[in-house]
Symmetry: C2
Subunit: 335 residues, 2 copies
């Protein structure tokens, strides 16, 4: 399962990156260095490197304005990426994740305090960049982004709570993913149209498209978190099981009522770190309990629902095709 | 040195608190509980308690709108308090401070991850609350708050760096305090006038007043951090020396070129935690090296400068008097 990055993504990235760099340049030198490392622009010593990261959310925001028949709002696209970057920076600290995009996570390089501060700075910059733009819908766009941030935080709070609980239902887990991943993707897909004062029904359809595509993406990402190779994920193999994450396929298996699900619960309920062979057993049990096939089917359903929202919305057909390209890329490669 | 809380502060607090509670009510239950504890509304179990904290910044923001001859902008006042609360929540984690306002700091009660998330949520809420208000100057006000947040973060980054350095100059230390404390106070004093579209010269004068008053406050707070009683500070005695903070009076002593300053540097340069008797020696050395009297004189100069900015600004004289009351309260009690 691998797919070519849609050309729009590279184009949008080229458009948005100068806006992002201009924003980050305002930060004090200490915080700027952490941010530049985290954004993939510099190494730990501050030397420039070829940027990593695919900037899918800015591409969606750029398309969103074009769907409304306007020139893209680059400020809105940059703001969404800044919120995304903030959330990854803080999530890595909270989750204790030591790797991010094939490199040591920022907090392991610069320390936890510097990483907390850099995340704070990126979150605050998002609003600042968006509001200084001249686009007519900047206020509703900034409010939409703040509400999405609130939901993203709610999702992460649930995710952390789930790690301490053994009774997470599939509905709760879906709600968590809807907030943690779906909210910001819904915002990315609608913020451009909002920023250029596009029609309300279009904004609503794009938000629904983004929410469904976001859930499909999360399902694909959860599958990669179990069966993805480190070269695809940039993280150690079997990382979600190692961290005892309650991701969607794992919860589907745990709540399947099967013998394999019970054995998985027994394995994951222990207090000791799982050995490599136990981790492989756990992955096999998720599959045997139907968690893998459920997640694959569910991802397909979410993608179908996303397409229906897009089909109903009034926009240039070339823009619709590009949205679909990105949605398929998101779910086929899982990043 | 203690002073009565100016009546405006209690009045403003009564006005702003419902706006703050309405904002925090939007958070998910997990994050809301941490925020309510940190804001002094609830105990660790979520039971309501008599609110603590004096909400001086909202009072300044309320006066700021009145200075422009308008009804107060409560959204702007609430937004400033949310940013202040965010910064305290995250600073306590970074500084390892276990006590805040006579209670265990939120991160010691709910864990570090929950406290990081709650701080993120309060920062994001600040922009959300401000932008949904109908006041004509909400966009410049939100941009001003974001820029102040950026400077506050820069100040905290420097403060953390100073803990690892032994060569901090008094100028660097002053710059750090200007950013860490002065920026948000300058914003609090000017954001109300900005939100109600007050005249630019008034906004500028109020910002300058706030910046100077903020520096005076920081100096008073630094003095309390060495000589304040736990009942006044809510923290253990001699806490800044214990944490080897490079606060203004300490840096003034270290850079005084006196024999006492050299002995202080030797004491503070060690790697081991300081004993209670060493801490008392260190405090005596700060005084002997002139750090205490320098800070007291400097605080007076800053307060005089603040008063001059206020005298030059065109506003109702009753509002000017209330601003001055708060500035004197800030620096006489240091909280």
């Amino acid at each position: 399962m691998s797919a070519v990055i849609p050309p729009t993504v590279a184009v949008a990235r080229g458009l948005v990156e100068p806006v992002l760099r201009d924003a980050v340049d305002r930060l004090d030198p200490i915080t700027r260095r952490v941010a530049a490392y985290h954004l993939g622009w510099a190494d730990a010593e501050g030397r420039p490197v070829t940027p990593g990261g695919k900037a899918l959310r800015p591409a969606l925001a750029v398309l969103s304005a074009r769907a409304a028949g306007a020139e893209e709002s680059l400020a809105a696209a940059a703001a969404v990426e800044l919120v995304h970057a903030f959330s990854l920076l803080h999530d890595d600290i909270m989750d204790g994740d030591r790797m991010r995009r094939h490199r040591p996570a920022a907090w392991t390089v610069f320390g936890q305090s510097a990483a907390i501060l850099a995340g704070d700075a990126l979150l605050s910059l998002a609003g600042e960049v968006l509001l200084e733009d001249g686009c007519p819908g900047r206020v509703p766009a900034a409010r939409c982004l703040a509400a999405a941030t609130r939901r993203l935080i709610a999702g992460q709070a649930l995710d952390l709570e789930f790690e301490r609980r053994s009774d997470v239902s599939l509905d709760e887990c879906r709600q968590m993913s809807t907030q943690k991943t779906g909210a910001l993707l819904a915002c990315a897909c609608s913020i451009g149209a909002m920023a250029v004062d596009g029609p309300e029904p279009l904004v609503a359809a794009l938000a629904s498209f983004g929410a469904e595509a976001g859930l499909a993406f999360q399902l694909a990402d959860d599958l990669l978190g179990i069966w993805g190779s480190p070269s695809a994920t940039g993280k150690p193999v079997l990382s979600d099981l190692r961290a005892r994450k309650k991701s969607l396929p794992i919860v589907a298996a745990l709540t399947s009522g099967t013998r394999a699900g019970e054995r998985l619960a027994a394995l994951m309920g222990g207090a000791e770190p799982l050995s490599e062979s136990e981790l492989r057993d756990a992955a096999a049990l998720v599959e045997e309990a139907g968690g893998r096939s459920w997640a694959e089917t569910e991802a397909k359903h979410r993608l179908d629902a996303a397409e229906r929202h897009l089909a109903d919305a009034d926009m240039p057909s070339a823009v619709r095709a590009e949205f679909l390209d990105i949605a398929h890329f998101l779910t086929s490669r899982g990043h």
